[in-house]
Amino acid sequence: MAVSESIAAPGLVERLSAPKPAITLLLLMWVPLTIYVMFGAHQFVLLPAIPATILLYWVAFYNFRESSTAIIGLTLVFFWLLMAVSAPYLPLVDPNKPIAPFTLPFSEKRDIFFWLGTDFKGRDMLSRMIWGCQRVIVWGVTATFVAYVIGTLFGLIAGYLSGWWDEIISFLANVLLSFPVMVLFIVILNYLGPSGFNIVVAVTFASAPAIMRIVRGLTLDIKTRDYVYAAQTRGEHPFYIMVIELLPNVRGPIIVDACLRLGYTTVAITTLTFLGLGLQPPDPDWGLMIREAAKTAMLWKFSYMLLVPALSVSTLILGFNLMADGLREMSLKD
């Protein structure tokens, strides 16, 4: 950090922290990664994402420097983000190529040094671990984002318009919330078939009702503020009031909750893949790795096959949770 700060012109990080540059960086990182993972675009699209990710980490680090919790969380999350965007450019073996089965970590076979060993088919664990994070991150974040858009929209409507809108939306939300999450997932994915987009649908059904409730509660509180009355007495359309007057003010708690929920979604997606309901083989994926390793990892000697993907998932989720804690800490300080 010290090095990059001394190189940069003074104030660059402050300038990048402004909403517009920060969002540009975020999009520069996110859009290529999504296109690459979802639609299998050429790896060239990831080129702008690598510097964007590094810059974004720097900006985030600078803005959260007062909370050590947030810094640890950020570092964990951005480690995996950087791995995700740079995977094609790292000197890795093809993750799907069987080379030497059951090679233990830190050992050499066929002139290749395997840091984390190989799995029962002989595929490089390190390479699979790094490639595997792409799908978890992209689908996890996308699913959470979609769930938030829908949950927030319905929450705003239920909270602001209240009356029948509230009755109907809250009733539907209660019905959905009464299903155990896993049952809901299994039902939806069995019906729609396992795929990334269907995971998004399943996560939305499972998360949106809870998000809707949070937003509805916040809206009920904020809509009695004088500035909302001011907008009403100007004759503003309810949609304008919801989006322009209310939404920016429910943002804070939502962002904290979103970080936590990213963690849940990651768990859910990994679990679904583990159950064979999510993303399908052969492409590397942490849940898949755990599933495949489950049989062989019975032997203590081969437990690394299970530990590597399991620890990867844990660090990512830990990262999200610490970030949420840090954000909450920061919001309480002001």
């Binding site: 004088d226 500035y227 007495t233 100007r234 004759g235 503003e236 003010n249």
Partner: protein, 692 residues
């Protein structure tokens, strides 16, 4: 008196808070000597450190605050050297405190009796039965009716005034030597406040308790205290006997304060208020020398800005001390601040007329499933009749629950009227919700809100919020034109133009309220409803915002509906007054007619309840008994009959009262009393000389 040990003595007390930005001195060099049985007032605006002093006396500063210098003696013993255990014994038994929010001081999950009993059980170690006994007696002493019932209630089951009496009873239970009152009546209605003030005054006589009374209201201090400290920006600027300070103030800030509160005699045309220019410096941005220097008209370079100022005794009066270097050079009689007299504004045609407007809410008490949903009607507004002319200020006065906010909502189109008509020009508004009103009608009617911290959306810039109104009402279309109008409006409300880019959190309360006013006037409205626009602001800021409102009104010939509970402000700025109680108009007429006999008995009580910060004024004391009845179950007959001191049983509580008309200009009183009886009422407020 002098050979007694003072109950409390602060010597050169300095208190600081430690924050991320470093040490912030909250209070510097504070001196106070409190004799047994004496009550001492501390007056100042928000942020001047008065609450910090109270917390320091309780030794309850929190993690980041600390006393950094000076001595704090309680009955001659140094409190700073006491152990936490000793302090705990002292707090609540020898020193007790009453806070501003009564609801927040009581535990909502415990019965009042149990909460009260804790005090004698813990501090005096008495049995539960005796504690109960003592608590009930104390409740009777603070004049709560039916103590046993109150002991068995939960805090939310009794009214705000009763809650505050319970808190005071709790503070008195251990017979403390020192009672700290931090704005104990600020959250209460005026007539309730009057009762609490009377109680506080009697406590000093009855229990011999010394009191420190913290308030921003000079009138309240005059009614309750013997001595007074005026604080400004962390320093005591003037200390003395209450009459000395009120009659012969010797600090420019004290005088500024008095100049900015509307006393009887102030008039918006002939004697406008004089606001103190500028604003309170932040604790870490205090100027060198006199903290008040940058806002003081007597500021002189080389005298006022060199190093720390000390307190000086006023010659001929050792007890009266003042922190000003130049107080002897100022001619206090001649240099009185005087506002510029302005010509009165002629009112024009009727703009807004309210004709028999009634608003009822129907509340369905939910029964079991589909059975037994009982319907209840809340009569928020009953048969309102009044009108407002062009360029006229009509004040709607009443306490909380009187229906004034409901009326504003009907007017703005957020609620429908149940019956009757509200006409703006020739447009009928009563049953025209805001969605159905055309842009023209909406823009003719705008509102200034009460709470400065709520009036602006924290997520958008100030300029953006004003610009939205301009675009919405089609005043201007292009970006340049809109920006130009935004800047012009900021100029009018006397804010710098670069505020347009700021967000509300970077503004002070008064500045936010100015933006709120700019926003209300952005669409060139004909009628502006101001719902308590200054009640949440500091005294010196109030004057500036009030005058601003009046100036813009004068300029644009806007009709102003001024909703308020503060009769002194109303007397100052209103042309006509409408007094409301429980949804009905009790009295209406010109300001002069309202403030002199004949009065409606409710108006009379309201007038008597308002504390006036003027020693030359004598006031009759009328304390209303009982509580405000619920609007869902109003008394039969006259709504005021349950609390009226002239109540005639068999008449007032049975029959609806008739409207009695006086004078020519439509002075109307809704009362059963005979017109001659009403005529013969004595004025509530008199000059002392006249009374003698």
């Amino acid at each position: 008196m002098s050979d007694q040990t003072p109950v409390l003595e602060c010597r050169n007390l300095s208190i600081s808070y430690y924050t991320r930005a470093g040490e912030i001195p909250a209070v510097v060099d504070f001196n106070l000597k409190l004799m047994p049985g004496e009550s001492h007032g501390i007056v100042g605006e928000s942020g001047c450190g008065k609450s910090t002093v109270a917390l320091a006396i309780m030794q309850y500063m929190g993690k980041n605050g600390a006393i950094v210098g000076g001595e704090l003696l309680f009955e001659g013993r140094d409190m700073r050297s006491m152990s936490p255990d000793e302090l705990r014994k002292l707090r609540g038994s020898k020193i007790a405190m009453v806070y501003q929010e009564p609801m927040a001081s009581l535990n909502p999950a415990m019965r009042i009796g149990d909460q009260l009993c804790e005090v004698p059980i813990y501090h005096d170690g008495v049995s539960e039965r005796e504690a109960w006994q003592r608590s009930a007696e104390m409740l009777a002493k603070v004049r709560l009716p039916d103590p046993e019932r109150i002991m068995n209630s939960f805090p939310h089951q009794i009214s705000g005034g009763q809650q505050q009496r319970v808190v005071i009873a709790m503070a008195l239970l251990s017979s403390p030597k020192l009672l700290l009152l931090d704005e104990p009546t600020t959250a209460l209605d005026v007539t309730v406040e009057a009762g609490i003030v009377e109680l506080i005054r009697d406590i000093a006589d009855e229990f011999g308790t010394s009191m420190i009374y913290i308030s921003h209201n000079l009138g309240l201090i005059l009614e309750t205290c013997d001595r007074l400290t005026v604080m400004y920006s962390g320093e005591a600027v003037e200390v003395g006997d209450i009459h000395d300070v009120f009659d012969e103030m010797r600090h420019p800030y004290t005088r500024g304060l008095f100049g900015s509160i509307p006393l009887p005699g102030a008039d918006k045309n002939e004697h406008p208020l004089v606001a103190i220019p500028g604003q309170l410096p932040l604790p870490h941005e205090r100027p060198k020398g006199c903290n008040f220097g940058p806002r003081c008209t007597f500021f002189r370079q080389g005298v006022c800005d060199t190093g720390r100022l000390r307190m000086h005794s006023v010659p001929g009066d050792d007890d009266h001390r003042v922190r000003c270097e130049r107080f002897q050079e100022i001619d206090w009689e001649r240099d009185l601040p005087k506002g510029e007299a302005k010509p009165p504004v002629e009112s024009g045609d009727v703009v807004l007329s309210v004709d028999d407007m009634t608003k009822h809410y129907v509340i369905e008490e939910s029964g079991f499933l589909i059975f037994g949903g009982e319907e209840k009607t809340v009569k928020a507004n009953e048969h309102l009749n009044f009108s407002a002319r062009e360029a006229e200020t009509v004040a709607i006065v009443g306490e909380s629950g009187c229906g004034k906010s409901t009326f504003a909502k009907v007017l703005m189109g957020l609620e429908d009227a149940t019956a009757g008509q509200v006409k703006l020009g020739n447009v009928e508004l009563g049953n025209l919700p805001v969605e159905k009103r055309d842009e023209k009608t909406i823009s003719r009617l705008q509102m200034v809100f009460q709470n400065p911290f709520d009036t602006l959306n924290p997520s958008h810039t100030v300029g953006g919020q004003i610009a939205r109104v301009i675009r919405k009402f089609g005043v201007a279309k292009t970006k340049e034109e809109v920006d130009e109008i935004v800047f012009r409006l900021l100029d009018i409300v006397k804010l710098p133009r670069d505020f347009a880019k700021r967000r509300p959190r970077q503004l002070s309360g008064g500045q936010k309220q100015r933006v709120g006013i700019a926003r209300a006037f952005a669409g060139n409205p004909d009628v502006v409803i101001a719902d308590e626009p200054v009640s949440a602001l500091d005294v010196s800021v109030q004057a500036a915002v009030t005058d601003l409102l009046m100036d813009i009104q004068r300029e644009n010939r806007t009709t102003l509906l001024f909703i308020s509970h503060d009769l002194s402000v109303v007397r100052y700025l209103a042309d006509r007054v409408v007094v409301m109680y429980l949804g009905q108009i009790m009295e209406q007429g010109t300001t002069e007619e309202i403030f002199s006999p004949p009065y409606h008995p409710y108006t009379e009580a309201l007038l008597a309840a308002v504390p006036i910060a003027d020693t030359s004024i004598e006031k009759r004391h009328i304390v209303l008994k009982g509580e405000l009845p619920s609007p869902s179950n109003p008394p039969k007959g006259c709504p005021f009959s349950t609390r009226c001191q002239y109540m005639m049983p068999g008449k007032c509580d049975v029959e609806a009262p008739p409207i009695r008309a006086f004078g020519r200009e439509g002075h109307e009183i809704l009362c059963h009393l005979d017109p001659t009886e009403l005529q013969e009422m004595e004025p509530v407020i008199k000059k002392k000389e006249e009374a003698a």
